[in-house]
């Protein structure tokens, strides 16, 4: 299939897969490893009433924040929406639904969605609001809560490199939720910094096998905004 997976830009890659009320998974941790161009494509498409599953919801002015700001998001499923004042306003005004998940439960629910596991048990959240209304059962002397899978109509992910078959390789901590989400979308679109020829990626080092990727775009450039630039001074040279 190869070349047929490659699309010219976010707009063409998103054509035909968006509909109001749909559920979208969006990779990234904070602003690291975000599918910048596909988010911009969703903004341009105007698709609305979205349920968005993403660890965070962008940051003021960036990433998923832009969809929030454009009134396209009905509900967020996240673990942390701290760096986002707009989110607070909309939520407190009752204009946004929020389902908070522990970050690991969120990741495992997504992994379960891709792996055909409709439910699993975890210690995380037992005795907290997270476990309210969910079955709790003892295993190996400890209480565990049952969590269910998460799946999406569309997953948008950001990788470093792709080959024409859709095999993906991520870079450093920009990997985060991306490979898990790639498995859990009915349709998965990946954007990458570089599409490399078949044979360029070592088959032992593919993070996301191409079976999970329906469409690929190469982003023209990446902003990769840093949220907390933290540095140390260079040690003085010995005299």
């Amino acid at each position: 299939m190869a070349k047929r997976k490659i699309f010219s830009d976010a707009e063409t890659a998103l054509a035909g897969v968006c509909f109001d009320g749909m559920t979208i998974m969006s990779g990234g941790f904070g602003l690291s490893g975000n599918p910048e161009h596909l988010i911009a494509g969703l903004l341009a498409s105007g698709v609305k009433d979205l349920t968005v599953i993403s660890n965070n919801c962008g940051a003021d002015g960036f990433g998923l924040w832009t969809l929030l700001n454009n009134g396209q998001i009905r509900k967020m499923v996240s673990s942390y929406i701290g760096e986002n004042k707009l989110f607070a306003e909309l939520y407190l005004a009752g204009k946004l639904e929020l389902e908070l998940n522990p970050q690991g439960t969120l990741a495992e629910r997504i992994r379960a969605g891709g792996a055909g596991i409709p439910a699993f048990y975890t210690k995380t959240g037992v005795g907290t609001v997270v476990a309210e209304g969910k079955p709790v059962e003892e295993f190996d002397g400890a209480l565990h809560v049952r969590e269910s899978w998460l799946r999406a109509d569309l997953s948008i992910v950001k990788a470093w490199k792709a080959d024409p078959e859709g095999n993906l390789v991520y870079r450093k901590t920009a990997r985060n939720f991306n490979p898990n989400m790639a498995t859990a979308g009915k349709v998965t679109i990946a954007e990458v910094e570089e599409i490399v020829p078949a044979g360029s990626l070592d088959p032992d080092h593919i993070h996301t096998p191409g079976i999970y990727v329906n469409r690929i775009i190469q982003g023209p450039s990446y902003e990769k905004r840093i949220e907390f630039r933290t540095v140390r001074p260079r040690e003085e040279e010995p005299a």
């Binding site: 941790f29 690991g104 992994r111 037992v126 005795g127 609001v129 949220e227 630039r229 140390r232 001074p233």
Partner: protein
């Protein structure tokens, strides 16, 4: 005189043992990395998908694809590894991390921990805190002993929404270093800050305090 943030971090570092895999929370816990004793080796895990966190980068080495769970830029070490969020929390949930050092708002006599939200204020979300306290082998809390009004934060029972039940093993506060005996529902003093006495600790603690 109560311990400073650095002094608290230095005391929390006493929890580190050679060969430990450790997750450090945001804030004072992050400072613990500066006080790892030189004769031991520990490996720091970051729940966004990294094992083996190096020091903060030099200004010209900053890489936006390389951040810790606090979204700060960091560096890698020669033996670092990167992995997905699901793999990262499998590592945490599976009990492979020896120690987590975290901040807290309240700790209860039985080890219950509240550190993620205050009702009525804006909800930020629990991030990875619930997974960490449920999954790691040992949880050490670093926090101010009392709130700004002087009310105890170590209490019979938490009033704030819980992060986890019966999870806290030890506490380092500005008053000293303490072990929580969850069965006996009491706090044992391991070390006190200079000028802080048993009376002061008891006056600002909501559960039984033992002299150690």
């Amino acid at each position: 005189m109560p311990w400073t943030r650095e002094e608290m971090a230095e005391r929390a570092a006493l929890e580190l043992k050679d060969g430990f895999y450790v997750n450090l929370g945001i804030g004072i816990p992050t400072l613990v990395a500066n006080f790892v004793p030189s004769d031991i080796e520990v490996v720091l895990q970051s729940e966004n998908g990294m094992l083996g966190i190096g020091p903060f980068p030099y200004d010209d080495d900053v890489d936006p694809d390389l951040i810790n769970a606090g979204k700060q830029t960091v560096t890698a070490l020669p033996t670092s590894s990167f992995f997905s969020s699901a793999d990262s929390f499998a590592m945490i949930r599976g009990g492979h991390i020896d120690l987590a050092i975290l901040g807290a708002m309240e700790v209860a006599a039985n080890g219950d921990l509240a550190n993620w939200t205050v009702p009525g204020k804006m909800i930020k979300g629990m991030g990875g805190a619930m997974d960490l306290v449920a999954g790691v082998q040992r949880v050490v809390v670093v926090m101010s002993h009392a709130d700004k009004a002087g009310n105890p934060k170590i209490v019979e029972s938490c009033s704030l929404p819980l992060t986890g039940i019966a999870v806290v093993d030890a506490i380092v506060s500005d008053y000293g270093r303490f072990t929580l005996d969850r069965n006996a529902r009491s706090l044992r003093i391991d070390e006190l800050a200079d000028g802080i006495d048993l009376e002061t600790v008891r006056a600002h603690t909501g559960i039984t305090v033992l002299a150690g």
